[in-house]
């Protein structure tokens, strides 16, 4: 007989807490609209952002429900080895904060977007090309947020699935309204409030995880159920993956539009540098804390599971087929009803049998792959199911308020970031006549609306080719590698040319696009590193063979 599924204890009190937090955010976001007069006020808050609100704004933009979910999934499937990415982030933030690498020069130029720098250094063509790739990759990146976050909310609040679309639409609408009207000033103020909510939610969830399973339980779960993996990142993830992460995080911290906009909004370059040093520790927490939740969820569900025996069949390959069939019949329902303790041991057994069998019959590898894929899917939902099972009424409302705050601030920050690129770096440079400040402001607001419609649609039609963590990083990588190379080359290498920059963008994007086509089966670290290698090669060759002509 199957065990009963998990039912969230989300009550009217929790709903009231969550709704009150949303109303407060919207009210504050709308009140500051009166401070917006020019495009500079709108995009970079007239460059008046201080250190602490800057750090709050940066972090609440880069932390959403989706961040917590993919980090927890990474912890669930890779164990403590996943923590290495958090250490890389801290090291990169401290490096950028200490040296001012790239950010100081860009801040001093008083630009509004990263591609604006490309026009000054390489010409309008490179600005538009970079703008197109950034808008494309950024929108794809943002495009899977609603569907993944909707699953979190459905599990934790118990909202019936037929209302999920409307719930997500309402969240997007709130972010859309105050971002479109109040721009960066609204963002800074609401981000501060949202940060307080999200930090409180983060601390509560962590304490609940530690109370439920304890650190020792997490270590035992990784030791017992990861087949000797889960501790050593070099063996588990590989040097190639770690190298790619270092490069990607340098790019993310310096030229990722939503992060760069915070740099451009600071009072001066010195505040920008201090902001990175301060947020380094917050970014470490952004990675390690939810990853630990994922490991806690692994321990939580293994703690509830009962051992399974292999089906009685004459051969191992028949056992594998039987087990795969059983899993096929129950897996989806178990996942939807929170019975992960039943699916986990079945998956582990299937993976072990398939791994042994593939030594004789390579065909069995497909069962191992399918078990791994299902484990990843399970890992994405394990943390929310654990929260639904363990958080009591009242606390659940506070955590949901924190998660909603995290999510809306991310939508708002990304809406403003990507729409500013579309308006400032694609539409405006291609327009036949120069747009006035008011015209640009109107254009950016219209783009925010268009972007919202796009991500609602993309979120419904696209199927992820692998773990969410990888998808998000590869869509970012689509333009991050060439952007950083072209910025660094432009700032520090006199021979850098427009042809080199254009080649870097085209070649850098190709491998990331190849990863997104599942039929090509390109490994994530290979796609990432190849993208960097091709972008560097294209940039160097293009610049050496076609040097920049002197610009007036």
């Amino acid at each position: 007989m199957s065990s009963p599924g998990i039912v969230s204890s989300f009550s009217l009190l929790d709903l009231a807490i969550a709704v009150a937090s949303l109303v407060a955010t919207l009210w504050i976001g709308l009140r500051v609209k009166r401070y917006i007069g020019t495009i500079e006020d709108y995009l970079v808050a007239s460059r008046g952002m201080g250190l602490y609100v800057g750090a709050a704004s940066l972090l609440s933009t880069e932390v959403g429900i989706i961040t917590y979910m993919y980090q927890a999934q990474f912890g669930f499937v890779a164990g403590f080895s996943a923590f290495v990415t958090g250490l890389i982030t801290l090291a990169v933030c401290l490096f950028v904060g200490r040296t001012g690498f790239v950010i100081t020069r860009l801040r001093e130029m008083e630009i509004l977007t990263v591609p604006e720098y490309f026009e000054r250094r390489y010409g309008r063509g490179v600005r538009v090309l970079a703008g197109v790739l950034m808008a494309f990759g950024g929108s794809l990146n943002l495009g899977i947020f609603p569907i993944i976050e909707a699953r979190f909310l459905a599990i934790v609040t118990g909202i019936p699935s037929q209302y999920l679309g409307w719930t997500m639409a309402a969240l997007l609408l709130i972010a859309l309204v105050y971002t479109a009207l109040g721009g960066m000033v609204s963002l800074i103020v609401t981000n501060y409030l949202q940060y307080v909510f999200l930090a409180a939610g983060t601390v509560i969830v962590t304490l609940v995880c530690l109370r439920e399973v304890g650190w020792g339980g997490m270590v035992s779960a990784v030791e017992g159920h990861m087949d000797g993996h889960g501790f050593n990142p070099i063996e588990d993830l590989g040097v190639g993956f770690i190298l790619w992460q270092v490069l990607l995080w340098i790019a993310l911290m310096t030229v990722w539009q939503s992060v760069a906009m915070r740099t451009f909004s600071t009072k001066d370059a010195a505040v920008g540098k201090k902001m990175f040093t301060l947020t380094g520790y917050l970014f470490l927490g952004r990675a390690l804390i939810p990853m630990a939740w994922g490991i806690a969820a692994l321990a939580f569900f293994w703690g509830k599971s009962a051992p399974v025996v292999a089906p009685s069949a004459p051969t191992r390959s028949a056992q594998i087929e039987e087990l795969d069939k059983d899993l096929g019949a129950t897996f989806r329902r178990d996942l939807d009803e929170g019975r992960l303790e039943r699916a986990l041991p079945q998956l582990e057994l299937l993976e072990r049998l398939a791994r042994e069998e593939k030594l004789q019959d390579p065909e069995a590898a497909r069962f191992e792959d399918s078990a791994r894929e299902r484990r990843g899917e399970l890992g994405l939902l394990a943390m929310p199911w654990m929260l639904a099972a363990t958080l009591p009424t009242g606390l659940l409302g506070l955590v949901v308020a924190g998660m909603l705050a995290a999510s809306i601030s991310t939508y708002a920050g990304y809406f403003l970031g990507w729409s500013s690129i579309i308006a400032q770096d694609i539409v405006a440079p291609l327009a036949k006549k120069e747009l006035s400040s008011e015209g640009r402001l109107r254009l950016t607001r219209v783009t925010v609306v268009g972007l919202t419609v796009f991500i609602m649609i993309w979120s419904l039609v696209y199927d992820l080719p692998g773990p969410a963590y990888f998808y998000l990083q590869v869509t970012a990588n689509l333009f991050m590698a060439p952007t950083l190379i072209a910025v660094v080359g432009g700032l520090y290498w006199r021979r850098a040319s427009a042809t080199g920059a254009a080649l870097a963008f085209l070649l850098g994007a190709i491998t990331s696009l190849a990863y997104l086509a599942p039929q090509l089966k390109l490994d994530v670290a290979t796609a990432g590193n190849l993208s960097w290698a091709l972008a560097v090669t294209g940039f160097a060759l293009g610049s050496l063979l076609f040097p920049q002509r002197a610009r007036s």
Binding site: Y35, L51, V53, Y192, L282, L288
Partner: protein
């Protein structure tokens, strides 16, 4: 070498750092927002004909 103590230390630093810095932000952020509003008001007044 065992990695488990190292990851425990990393987690303690991450959690303690996150909690403490968040408290500082919550306390000192209010004054900075007031400052931002004052600066924006000043800017608007200056730009008005």
């Amino acid at each position: 070498m065992s990695w488990a103590p190292f990851w425990l230390l990393a987690f303690v630093v991450a959690f303690a750092g996150f909690t403490l810095i968040s408290l500082v932000i919550a306390v000192r952020g209010v004054a900075e927002i007031r400052e931002l509003f004052t600066a924006l008001k000043e800017e608007r007044r200056r730009k008005q004909p």
